[in-house]
Symmetry: C2
Subunit: 194 residues, 2 copies
């Protein structure tokens, strides 16, 4: 399953594409950030985001687009730009007939790190491990977009499985790599549930 | 000058097109509302709004799109849908190279009724008079979209003129129709300023 994750934003819009196999193994396909300057007029900024999303959808042809569900905790001026960008992203996917899934930040954090209250550094660290990357995706928006894509793919791949597929607190040294350990844990849980 | 005014919203998105002559006389060209149901998924709703905006831009070829600047006074769940719709509208105009102007609700109210704190009924009443309509545009979102377009056109047509072009409180009976009285007042003010 190929998923495009989008962490919407006006100043920085994170984009990440992953391929996730039936066995939950995930591979990085593409990652990036569309940045727009607050010096530019709003219409130029939103157009740049619209064009970038179209490019990513054309280039990577994802089966699903996972978008962060925007939240009220943010301050209002930030929410506005985030919501405007997310509207454009969702409409762009819908225009191509690509399903859109919305996930809350805490769902994504829980899926990737095991804790819904994980900080950005923990999310980045886990995304880096899960995708077996040599360097961490930067900025955090790019890592968040990948986390969204992973969270969605895992939910989709194993319906009914726990949304938390691993716990950072359980990441003690053992024979498995952290990512392998995650899969093992997730799979053993999924088996226990069924 | 042809202006498309948009009162963005997820449940109801008001659209109004007016032609405004050099002498500030305004004519209704088109008015409508795109309604989407809360029962539909968000992506289907935003797609409907995106397609409608594209249709209106293609059909009426406005020179400017005037969009209501979204505000923090609204509750957060409303703001989200409004902002998502406005993002789509702004990007659609920008994609066609059509300039976008943002106006606050109080700017629009002041331009159309003379008071920045006018209620929806007063705005509808003035829009009906200004455009010489036999019946008021309904729902209020449609009237708001027309008010936005008028407010923008008047600002653009006479730079430096007061943003309040008439006062409902001054609408006492006399030989002029209310709309004619408005023009007369606005023009006499514009002359006084220059």
């Amino acid at each position: 399953m190929r998923v495009l994750g989008v962490d919407p934003g006006l100043t920085r819009c994170g984009l990440g594409v992953v391929d996730v196999a039936r066995d939950r193994r995930a591979t990085l396909v593409g990652v990036g950030v569309v940045g727009t300057s607050a010096q530019e007029p709003l219409d130029a900024r939103l157009l740049l985001i619209a064009r970038s999303i179209d490019e990513w959808l054309d280039r990577y042809e994802p089966e699903v687009v996972a978008v962060e569900r925007v939240f009220s905790q943010l301050n209002v001026s930030t929410v506005m730009g985030v919501a405007q960008a997310s509207g454009i992203v969702i409409a762009a996917a819908a225009r191509r007939g690509i399903p859109v899934a919305l996930h809350t930040p805490s769902e994504v954090k829980a899926a990737v790190t095991g804790s819904g209250r994980a900080d950005k550094a923990a999310v980045t660290r886990m995304v880096t491990k899960i995708l077996r990357l040599e360097t961490s995706p930067r900025p955090a928006d790019a890592a968040d977009a990948l986390a969204l894509a992973l969270a969605h793919a895992w939910r989709g791949a194993a319906p009914g499985s726990p949304s938390a597929v691993g716990r950072t607190t359980a990441m003690t040294a053992n024979a498995l790599t952290p990512a392998q350990r995650l899969w093992a844990e997730a799979e053993s849980r999924a088996r226990r549930k069924t």
